[in-house]
C-alpha cells in the first residue's frame, strides 16, 4: 500500500483579505460599466455633433469622398456591378447580405448594433421588405429624399402609389425598386376551350369558380394557402386590416363588409374545391396542380416565379395571359392588392451623400439595369415601359401583358399600409393552421382581428377599431 500523504491545508502564509470572488465581480462590473460608457458615449455623439448642421431636411454627417458601401441581396448584385461598370471612377464596396428577406430582420438588427457603437452603417441598402420605414425613421437611419437630395421631377416619375411604403408625413424616405401589383393570371387556351369569359367582377369570379368546380373538378381558379393571400384578396377588396395611419398608429377592422365579402368568397370556393389551401410554393402544389391551373390572381412576379419556371408549374409557352384583377361592383375606383416590391434606402449617417444619391437614382431608374437585368416590374415609370417591351420579346405570354400591368400599377389601394408587424406572418400563424384543420376564414375573422391587434400593440402601435 502506498503511503499517501495528505496535503496539510495550513494557513502558513496569510493572504490579503479581499475574497477572490468579490474581486472578480467588482472587476467585471467595472469592465461592464466601462463598456457601457463607451457604447452610450459613442451613440450620443454620433447623432448630434456634426459640423454641417441641418441640410436637405436632416442633420448630415461630415462629408468626404471615399468608398461607397452598398448592401444588396444576391439578385441585386448585378445592379451594383452594372453601376460600377458604368462609373469606373466611383469606388464601390458591394456587400451581399440576405436582403432582409423572409423576415430575417438583418437590417434592423445590424443598424441597432451600429447605432450603439456609432459607426459601421452602410451608405445605401436594398431591402426586400417593404416595411423598413416603420422602424428606420424612428431609428434615424434613413434620410429624407424629397427635401433637397433628389429633385421632385425624378420622384414624380415613380408610378402612382409606388412611393407609399416610403412616405411618412409627406417625407419620402426611400425609393421603390419594383412593383408587385396583383393581376389575374389565366390560361387563355383553356378558357377559350371551355368557353369561359374572363371575369371582371368578384361575383363573376365566384360564379366561374363554382362552375369550374362542377364541370372540371380538380382545376383551380385561385389559391388561398399562401402567407400573402390577404395581400392578394383582402387588399384588393379594400379590407381595413392594415390601415396604417401614422408611424405608430393603425386602424384594424376586419369584421366590416369589405372584409367579410371576400372571406365568404374564399370560403365558398375552397369548399367547392376550385380554390386550393396549399401554398403555391409547396411541393404538394407542384405535384398536384401542374397543368391544373385555370386562373390565379397574383402579383406581377407570378409570371416568372410560378408559371415560367421548372421549379414551379413549368407551364408551356403561349398559355398564360393576364387580365385586370376583378372588382366589386359599386366600388368607385378600381383597386388591387400588392405583394412585395423592394426598397432602396439611403443612410442618414452616410458621408458620401452625393455618390449615394447618384447610385440610388441610377439603380432605380436606369434602363441599362432595370430593363435588361431586373426581374420585377420597375417602379420608375419610364424604366417600366422599356422593361415591358423586353418582356414582350420573350414571347412566353399569350397576348400582350403590358397594358394590363401598366394599368394595374396605378391601382394599388392605398388603404393597406406597411407596419412593423408582418401581416403575412400573422395570417400564416393564425389563419393557415385553421384552414388546414378545416375551419372557414369567416369563422376566424375575429381571431385574425385580435391577432393583428396584439401584434401591433406589442410593436408599440395605437390600435383603433
Amino acid at each position: 500500500m502506498a503511503l499517501v500523504i495528505r496535503a496539510v491545508r495550513g494557513r502558513r502564509h496569510p493572504r490579503p483579505s479581499l475574497p477572490r470572488a468579490v474581486l472578480a465581480v467588482s472587476v467585471a462590473a467595472l469592465l461592464a460599466s466601462t463598456v457601457a460608457a463607451c457604447g452610450n458615449g459613442a451613440s450620443s455623439s454620433g447623432s448630434g455633433s456634426s459640423s454641417s448642421g441641418m441640410k436637405d431636411g436632416f442633420v448630415q454627417a461630415p462629408q468626404s469622398s471615399g468608398t461607397l458601401t452598398v448592401w444588396v441581396d444576391s439578385t441585386r448584385v448585378p445592379a451594383a456591378q452594372a453601376y460600377q461598370k458604368a462609373h469606373p471612377n466611383t469606388k464601390l464596396n458591394i456587400v451581399t447580405y440576405d436582403g432582409d428577406a423572409n423576415g430575417s430582420n438583418t437590417l434592423q438588427t445590424k443598424v441597432d448594433l451600429y447605432d450603439r457603437t456609432g459607426s459601421g452603417w452602410p451608405d445605401v441598402v436594398f431591402s426586400a421588405e417593404n416595411n423598413e420605414i416603420s422602424w428606420a425613421v424612428n431609428a434615424g437611419f434613413t434620410a429624407p429624399l424629397n427635401e433637397g437630395l433628389i429633385p421632385s421631377s425624378t420622384l414624380s416619375n415613380f408610378a402612382a402609389g409606388a412611393l407609399d411604403p416610403c412616405t411618412v408625413n409627406g417625407k419620402v424616405y426611400c425609393l421603390r425598386n419594383d412593383l408587385a401589383m396583383v393581376v389575374l393570371w389565366y390560361n387563355a387556351p383553356l378558357m377559350k376551350q371551355w368557353g369561359y369569359q374572363v371575369p371582371m367582377t368578384w361575383p363573376q369570379y365566384q360564379q366561374l369558380g363554382l362552375e369550374v368546380a362542377k364541370q372540371h373538378p380538380g382545376y383551380l381558379v385561385g389559391n388561398a394557402g399562401d402567407t400573402f393571400t390577404p395581400e392578394i384578396y383582402m387588399w384588393a377588396s379594400q379590407c381595413q386590416a392594415n390601415d396604417i395611419t401614422g408611424l405608430r398608429a393603425v386602424t384594424v377592422n376586419v369584421t366590416s363588409p369589405s372584409c367579410t365579402r371576400m372571406a365568404s368568397l374564399l370560403d365558398t370556393l375552397i369548399k367547392a374545391g376550385s380554390m386550393s389551401k396549399l401554398s403555391v410554393f409547396s411541393t404538394a402544389f407542384d405535384k398536384k396542380e401542374k397543368g391544373k391551373v385555370l386562373m390565379l390572381p397574383g402579383p406581377a412576379w407570378f409570371g416568372g416565379a410560378v408559371f415560367d419556371t421548372s421549379s414551379g408549374l413549368n407551364t408551356p409557352k403561349g398559355q398564360i395571359a393576364v387580365a385586370p384583377g376583378p372588382q366589386w361592383p359599386g366600388s368607385a375606383t378600381p383597386s388591387t392588392g400588392n405583394v412585395g416590391g423592394g426598397l432602396w434606402l439611403l443612410s442618414a449617417h452616410s458621408r458620401h451623400l452625393a455618390e449615394a444619391v447618384d447610385f440610388l437614382t441610377w439603380v432605380t431608374g436606369n434602363n441599362a439595369y432595370q430593363d435588361d437585368l431586373a426581374p420585377g416590374y420597375p417602379a420608375y415609370a419610364p424604366a417600366a415601359s422599356a422593361w415591358l417591351a423586353n418582356q414582350a420579346k420573350s414571347g412566353y405570354y399569350a397576348g400582350d401583358i403590358a397594358p394590363v400591368l401598366q394599368q394595374a400599377a396605378g391601382q394599388v389601394w392605398p388603404g393597406w399600409g406597411y407596419g412593423q408587424f408582418s401581416q403575412e406572418a400573422i395570417w400564416a400563424s393564425t389563419i393557415d393552421p385553421g384552414l388546414t384543420a378545416g375551419k372557414t376564414i369567416t369563422s376566424m375573422l375575429s381571431a385574425w382581428q385580435s391577432a393583428i391587434t396584439e401584434h401591433a400593440q406589442a410593436d408599440g402601435y395605437q390600435v383603433s377599431p
Binding site: L3, A7, L31, A32, V35, Q108, L278, S282, S429
Partner: protein
C-alpha cells in the same frame, strides 16, 4: 512510478507547505488563460446582460418592471407552456435513449460496427441550424418525404397537417434529439470506457447479465456524466430556439413563430430594440437553469474532485 520502493519520509513541514504554495500557484497559472477568456467573453457579457435586465433604456434602475412587462406580453404565457411541455419530452427522451444507446453500443462485440454506428448516429449533429431547414421541410412533407408511409400511417396527408400546433412539442423534441443525441452518445461511450475493466470483469464472473451490469455498475459510475448531461440539456431546453426557428423558416411562418421564450427574447431584442425586456427573459431562464443545476450539482457531488 515504483510504489514498491521503500517509503521515504515525506519531508519536513516546511517542504510540505512549500509544495502546497507551489501547487496553488501552479493552479493559478494553469487557469490563467482560461480565466482571461472567461472574464472577457463570459463574465462581462453576462454581467452586462443582468445589468440590462434591471435597468431601462435610459440606464436608470428599473427594479422588476422589465420582468413584469415582459410577462404581460401576449406571447409570454403560451411560450412558458410550450417550453415546459417540450422540456418534459426532451429530457426524458434524451436521458433514456442516450444512456440506453451508449450502453448497448458499449456491449457490441465488434469494434468496427460500434465505430460505424457511432459515426452514423453522429452525422445529424453536423446539420445544425440553417443547414437542416430544407431537410426538415422535406422530411415532414408527406408528399415528398422518405418517411411518407410512416406519416400517412399517422393520418397526415399534407405538410400543414404534420405541423399542426398540437404536434409541435414532439416535433421539436424529435429534431433536437436528432441533432443532439449523437454527440452525447459519444461522450457517454467515452465515459463508459473509463470504468475500470476489472470491475466489469468481476461482475461478469459473478454472473451478472448485460442489463444488471448496466444497472448496478455502469449507470452509477456514470453519475457525474449523466448529471452534466441533464444540467446542460435542461438549460438548452429552456433556451429552445433553433428548432422552432427552423420550422418557422421552413413553413414560412405557419408554425414555430414566437413559440418559445427565447424566441420572444430575440424578438424583443432585435425587432423592438428592447434589450431590457430581452435580458429580463434571459435572466429568468438563467435562474431556472441555475436552480436545477444546483440541485443536480449537490446531489451528484459534482464539484468534488472525485
Amino acid at each position: 512510478m515504483n510504489l514498491a520502493a521503500p517509503v521515504r519520509p515525506a519531508g519536513t513541514r516546511a517542504t510540505r507547505a512549500l509544495r502546497r504554495v507551489r501547487a496553488v500557484r501552479a493552479g493559478h497559472v494553469f487557469v490563467a488563460g482560461y480565466v482571461m477568456l472567461l472574464a472577457a467573453f463570459g463574465i462581462v457579457p453576462t454581467a452586462y446582460g443582468i445589468y440590462f435586465a434591471f435597468t431601462n433604456s435610459a440606464n436608470y434602475f428599473a427594479g422588476l418592471s422589465n420582468f413584469t412587462a415582459a410577462a404581460r406580453d401576449f406571447r409570454y404565457l403560451p411560450a412558458v407552456g410550450h417550453v415546459a411541455l417540450y422540456l418534459l419530452i426532451w429530457l426524458v427522451a434524451l436521458v433514456l435513449f442516450v444512456t440506453g444507446l451508449a450502453l448497448v453500443l458499449h456491449q457490441l462485440p465488434a469494434r468496427r460496427t460500434g465505430r460505424l454506428v457511432r459515426f452514423l448516429y453522429y452525422i445529424p449533429g453536423a446539420l445544425a441550424g440553417a443547414a437542416s431547414v430544407m431537410v426538415w421541410l422535406f422530411m415532414l412533407d408527406p408528399t415528398v418525404s422518405p418517411a411518407a408511409p410512416f406519416l400517412r400511417l399517422l393520418g397526415y396527408g399534407t405538410f400543414g397537417q404534420v405541423i399542426e400546433p398540437g404536434h409541435l412539442a414532439i416535433l421539436f423534441a424529435m429534431i433536437a434529439f436528432w441533432t443532439g443525441a449523437g454527440g452525447w452518445i459519444v461522450v457517454m461511450y467515452g465515459a463508459l470506457n473509463n470504468i475500470p475493466l476489472d470491475v466489469i470483469e468481476a461482475a461478469r464472473i459473478d454472473g451478472a447479465g448485460g442489463w444488471q451490469t448496466a444497472r448496478r455498475i455502469q449507470i452509477p459510475m456514470l453519475r457525474k456524466w449523466i448529471a452534466y448531461m441533464v444540467i446542460l440539456a435542461f438549460a438548452a431546453g429552456t433556451q429552445l430556439f433553433v428548432e422552432p426557428q427552423l420550422i418557422s423558416e421552413a413553413s414560412l411562418g405557419v408554425a414555430g413563430r414566437d413559440y418559445s421564450l427565447n424566441q420572444l427574447s430575440y424578438d424583443f431584442a432585435f425587432q423592438n430594440n428592447n434589450v431590457n425586456y430581452a435580458a429580463a427573459i434571459s435572466v429568468e431562464l438563467l435562474v431556472v437553469s441555475l436552480v436545477v443545476a444546483a440541485v443536480f450539482v449537490t446531489r451528484s457531488r459534482f464539484f468534488d474532485a472525485d
